[in-house]
Symmetry: C2
Subunit: 291 residues, 2 copies
Amino acid sequence: MEPSKRIESALEAAVARATAAPAPPQLAHAVRHAVFAGGARVRPRLCLTVAAACGDDHPELADAAATAIELMHCASLVHDDLPCFDDAATRRGQPSVHAAYGERLAVLAGDALIVHALETLALTVPQAPQRAGALLTTVTRATGMPYGITAGQAWESEPEIPVAEYHQAKTGSLFAAATVAGAIAAGAEDQADRWRIVGERLGEAYQVADDLRDAVGAEDELGKPTGQDSSHGLANAVSEHGLQGAKERLDRLVQEAVDAVPECAGAEQLRAGILQEMERVLPESLGRSAA
Amino acid sequence: MEPSKRIESALEAAVARATAAPAPPQLAHAVRHAVFAGGARVRPRLCLTVAAACGDDHPELADAAATAIELMHCASLVHDDLPCFDDAATRRGQPSVHAAYGERLAVLAGDALIVHALETLALTVPQAPQRAGALLTTVTRATGMPYGITAGQAWESEPEIPVAEYHQAKTGSLFAAATVAGAIAAGAEDQADRWRIVGERLGEAYQVADDLRDAVGAEDELGKPTGQDSSHGLANAVSEHGLQGAKERLDRLVQEAVDAVPECAGAEQLRAGILQEMERVLPESLGRSAA
């Protein structure tokens, strides 16, 4: 099955389990809205791509890993959009979950998505206990504390923000989980350290690309209000290095990711795919020159 | 080791893992505040008691299950106290997490506690894959949707609340997880159905005892503002059955829990323990007559 179809189908199965009767109808709608609102599925695609490069001998494990990572990503967006954080009324051009269903259901939808992300992996324990155990702790490390998304978001409440730790925890951690989990799902746990570097560099590259898009004000392309990072007073790649410097940094990060790809059956195809994907995420007005 | 020491020591290990450097200091404080603020540890004690009655041949699994269940309970309290839900300034006589650390860190502390609850179980997969897998799905079922705490809490956002489903999901589910997980941790998964009934009846009994305490206004004993349930306009045992009727209902639920305890090494001791515990939770002014 084509990767994006595999991802949508696996997400649908997980969401169907969570929203089945007797789930409260509004919460079920809120969860569905959070997961199926036009996300680019960048992390689960990366996860499946790495699994494919490593042989993908247990596709149901790769699907579960990709699903868990995307559900965690959706949960973090729902909670990030809450009034006490970004207070965002829209997300990807649609109402945010709290705008559509209220703050209570947005809190609960995020909570439920975290639970079901890990449940999706827990259900694979009987078939492949060793890999499933490693997949679970890969995803918890990327989302909890001290290294994961919640830690990353919490740095914004500190008087001083260590910029590298902040970006690594808030963005890099889940990208690293995507590559590492893809490798573990396909039995390549011994190469996890290399795959972690690939994921971390790509996570940082996406962050820089996001800063570039934010700076050139491509609001229409992005579907959310631009200029949000600078309104938090946080350092970003463009304010730190300028447009040209940020573009150079992006190219360097992508090259480091490509170089870190370990030898495996699909290494060449994966390297080409990374370059192609990075061209896709650059804003048009920057000439999509990252490759 | 004495049960309450086992529980505090296992919780301390889980919290220490989550709050280790480089965790953001404020989030680390908030998580510690959420877990170590004088909770009665009713659910983890129940879990260890059931594990002991079933032989407790893998005490580290029972500890992990008890820890996961208590961390989930703490997470639900932190999110329940948020301004958009109960807007509670205090909990157990101390400032609630959002009152002490702000709304953002309260949202994130709850999220992190959910992740680390399940991580605690995920870390046991290598030693005992079969039991750990069942423990994980027992806890996710009790906390997610459609049967768990998030579903229970979300019923409050519906125009009509099905009272039985609501209480079962909001309170009963985690008590049922406590008894079922205690049994699974000790290898007694074949008796899980009976243990589920024990947990469900006890969960309902605690709810009725809570309603009774609420009704007699034992604010000092409880450490939180009383009368909160009736302010939600929700049915409770006292408003539905009167004081005497609620007390009779409590006695009946406790008896059903005792009767449902399956035959096992420690069955008699457990039955006596249930009766003793239920006497403890009744408000003094009601003569603690449940036994």
